[in-house]
Symmetry: C2
Subunit: 248 residues, 2 copies
């Protein structure tokens, strides 16, 4: 709130003492004006538009429509004419914003990765007990998945269309996430609050997978009427059970 740049998320005030989605939304601003400001910050070098006011407004339209089109028919199969029609911005106008088609995909991946990085670094910087740490990571990750659903879905499905550098960065981020979980498990086992006989790396990987389901299988959860918080409770309890955690 003081010296933090526009590209840095606010610190986690009151999180994860209260792991409700409302508390998460309040702690990090991943929607509305602050989100689009972040997009502008990441992407503005590729744009010919300098005026922040109208730029942010059109950026929002472009990204929203990109998600609607790409997440239903595929990014490569979405033509810029489709995007032009959907946004109401002419072809020439579009190029003043996106730089090129692949720059657009690139920006999406960058925004997602930097957001995850900011939120998780923030959580990891706090000195939390293994239990609290695990809880914070699980709930925060799912709330991020939920709030920025189309962003995450896009990154997963269109990953192969990104250039090699970004593709590897995305894979490394997932490996880091696995490793982060692994570390929490280990610390908890050392501290005697968790117990596990088996492959911790596989447990971490399958936890990551369970979290990714929230954006990969949205259709299924919608159909079943499962909410994020219900799913977060399920995922966390399942994990505690696997780790033989005794509640009290």
């Amino acid at each position: 709130m003081d010296s933090a740049g526009a590209n840095t998320l606010s610190p986690a005030q009151g999180w994860p003492i209260d792991t409700s989605m409302e508390a998460f939304r309040a702690a990090w601003e991943l929607e509305g004006e602050p989100l689009w400001q972040r997009v502008f910050d990441v992407h503005h070098e590729r744009m010919q538009i300098k005026n922040g006011k109208t730029a942010v407004k059109n950026l929002q339209k472009i990204f929203d429509c990109t998600f609607r089109l790409a997440n239903s028919q595929g990014f490569h199969s979405m033509s810029l004419r489709d995007l032009s029609r959907e946004t109401g911005i002419s072809m020439g106008g579009l190029y003043a914003y996106i730089g090129s088609k692949s720059d657009l995909a690139s920006a999406i991946e960058s925004v997602v990765r930097s957001t995850i990085d900011d939120v998780l670094s923030d959580i990891n910087a706090q000195q939390l007990s293994p239990y609290q740490h695990l809880k914070a990571v699980i709930y925060a990750d799912l709330y991020m998945n939920h709030i920025m659903h189309p962003w995450y879905y896009f990154c997963f499905i269109e990953a192969k269309g990104l250039d090699k550098e970004q593709r590897e960065a995305a894979m490394n981020m997932e490996l880091q996430f696995d490793q982060g979980l692994h570390d929490i498990f280990s610390k908890g086992i050392e501290a005697g609050v968790f117990r596990y006989e088996g492959n911790l790396a596989l447990l971490a990987a399958s936890t990551t997978a369970m979290l990714q389901q929230w954006y990969l299988k949205r259709w299924k959860f919608l159909q079943r009427g499962v909410t994020v918080t219900e799913y977060a409770d399920f995922a966390f309890n399942q994990l505690l059970n696997n780790l033989s955690y005794q509640s009290k």
Copy 2:
């Protein structure tokens, strides 16, 4: 072996008493000549070629190259000229085999779905105890994922490019798979061998997710040196643990 048509897989002889991959390979023939015969059966209406001998050979080349190209750059971004170059078959020649580009994708989805259907129907038709039934489904599904990896990966990633009918068929198959797991859980709980307090539908869904990881995150398992059988053991034990199964 007697009245079974070429399009039907042999029944599961000795499966799942022995859940090794070798036993699975022997029970169902999902590779080599029998696989390509299956492809020919599903796809031959769209082809102009009638001669089975050379047709099957070229079909194999076309599908293999499609996987190599589509699974690395995306199906839509793979041009038929790419495919022509990679297979060594001319553009005109290709069209005698594939019908159209989208027929090619369609055939892949059909082969995968009918294979899953055959194998699982076969397992479900046997009268197995909940424990044996669960074990059979987990191991069989993972071995299928493994043996037909590029097929599965293609179906997941390129699902949105299929026509509505096929997309829904694929989703229904996944829901059926979840339901099948759910039923086994329930039967085991009734029989008193499993115990679970929680949402069984979510447990089924997260089990399906864990199995899909084998083809979705191949890069990770390769990097970590995890084999299918190790992963199958992990997945099955994890599930037994969640279901409070007491081994003996």
